[in-house]
Amino acid sequence: MRFPMNPLRPVAPEEQAPGVHPTPLWSVRPQSDRQAGDAVVSNFLLHWFPAKVSKASLDWNYSFWLGTVSAALLLLLTLSGFPLLFLYVPSIERAYSSIKDIEFAVTFGSWIRSVHRFSAHLMVAAVFLHLARVFLTGAYKNGIGQGQRREWNWVIGVVMLLLTLFLSFTGYLLPWDQLAYWAVTVGTNIASSIPFVGDPIRELMLGGRTIDQPTLIRFYVLHVLVLPGVLGLLLVYHMWRIRKDAGLARADRAARLEAPAVVTPGQTKTYTLLGVARGTAPTVRTTALETPDTTVNSVPDLTRRAMIVTLGTIAVLSIMSVFLRSPLEEAANALVTPNPAKAPWYFLWLQEIVTLTTVRIGSFTINGAFLGGVILPGLLVGLLTVWPWLDRSPSAAAGVWFPQSRRTQNIVFLVLVLLILTLTFVGTFMRGPYWQLYWPWETWPDIPTRL
């Protein structure tokens, strides 16, 4: 067979052997299955895709491509972070004015900062929605493949959500405005509310006993180096695990649809090359995966959609940032706490919880900072982490939206999400001066900002 990949170059017979590729280039419009497979094998950026992928797992309305959206936002954050890295000065005297320069003096500075800021906000939302999708479809469940460890990819995902939140937190500290200063105050005091080890932890976070230059440089290094590095490594592992786990849970589902009776012993499909030799890789023995109507070539079917999602995300953010400016509060002022002092929207439910959870039992008082700031979020994260091991539903429930066998847990999950959203709404629209409750349409009383 000859392939019209590079018509100028004749294909020598030895180059047609498996694993030998006629040309290092690849086509985005492959003319044959062989060409489509070659794209995956010969292109570095595509090597994490399988040659063939289950059609059903590409459906827009199964995954909503939220993981890809999150990854695209991370890419955008990295790209927009680079110019900011050159423009921002991590010093408590100059941080605020350098952000002001970016906002008002640097050409395109305001746009770059908006891209960075809105990407960060949307990434929190996208990563959370991705987690919700995976939970509601039971996609952390193992299906028919041997050696699948989807529950561990879920755990990595939970860690990545926490990293996303911590990246956002460290990010909005950097302008060293009032939002930043009082967020550090509250955030580190939550840490110091932990019995016995709290104060040393706070001192380690602050680099001293008060919020000062060592504090800013610590959060800066975490934001630009440590956290993105860890998140990047975990992202790569997250993607690799999808391959090891034989694709999305939906793919297993598709394989299950055909009757397994027609399986012939010799027909196996493995997802890794090394797995063949070791016999440890997930192997799916089914005819459904082999039939042409359930699978498609990764190139171009998967790559096309991934590009649509990535470029779409970049386009939306770029255009949005032209029209929406990023706010900046007054410069950090240790002498005046803003009234009310509000966290960004994704932390407002936590601000509500620390407000509501101070418990008094007789003369004994548990600070809401500890109960609502450490214990309750810790329990939530702990429960999320171990949930795949508590979920006893059959593996047939993997990769399906709202299956009957997972109805109760899905409802409990949604109720918790609704609770968090309600608290977020209350914090955003119903808290006024001195954190008092007001209706969203009520006018706040006029309270002087200074004594």
């Binding site: 002498l335 706490t337 004594l451």
Partner: protein
């Protein structure tokens, strides 16, 4: 392994070192490697714990007693309220005991007298926190909101050299503390 082959009178008590020299060296090397990397990790982390504090001093002169107005004066950089009633002074922290925001004082329309710490005290203000809505009475007692305990009272004294009031932000005192300046 080889000791079984040389079955003889000394076959049993071969030393650990001779018996498993290869394994012993492997363990020694691995252990040394772990210890070295661990110590470097500890050293790197330890370097982040400051040995020298550049924090502001906790004992601060705040001005001559006569310059304080009757009632309340807020010292924002110390986050401190200094109260004066005639010749009697006391100081209450403005740091909320919940999560450390600065509480704001609100003057009462009608000052009230109350026994605080066994002594009578005139309460002219109450305090509210802008971060999570904690409320305190004029003597710092927490009355509502998430604050777990009352605002701290700090020790006041008169500097022997120039007669200024001195506050010690490291010395918390009971609510019966009063400084009377002659």
């Amino acid at each position: 392994m080889s000791d079984k082959a040389q079955a003889g009178p000394r076959a049993e008590p071969v030393t650990f070192f001779k018996k498993n020299r290869r394994e012993f060296l492997l363990r020694l090397g691995t252990g040394a490697g772990i210890a070295a990397i661990g110590y470097q990790g500890v050293a790197s982390l330890r370097s982040l714990v400051p040995n020298v504090s550049y924090d502001a001093p906790t004992t601060v002169k705040v001005g001559l007693p006569g310059d304080f107005p009757d009632g309340l004066k807020f010292l924002p950089d110390l986050r401190l309220f200094v109260f004066r009633e005639g010749k009697v002074y006391h100081a209450i922290s403005a740091v909320c005991t919940h999560l450390g925001c600065t509480v704001r004082a609100e003057a009462l329309s009608q000052p009230e007298r109350r026994s605080v710490g066994g002594q009578e005290l005139r309460l002219t203000h109450r305090f509210q926190c802008p971060c999570h809505g904690s409320r305190y009475e004029g003597d710092g007692t927490n009355v509502s909101g998430p604050a777990p305990k009352p605002l701290a009272w700090y020790q006041l004294s008169v500097a022997p050299d120039d007669g200024q009031l001195v506050v010690d932000l490291a010395a918390e005192v009971d609510h019966d503390f009063r400084l009377t300046v002659a």
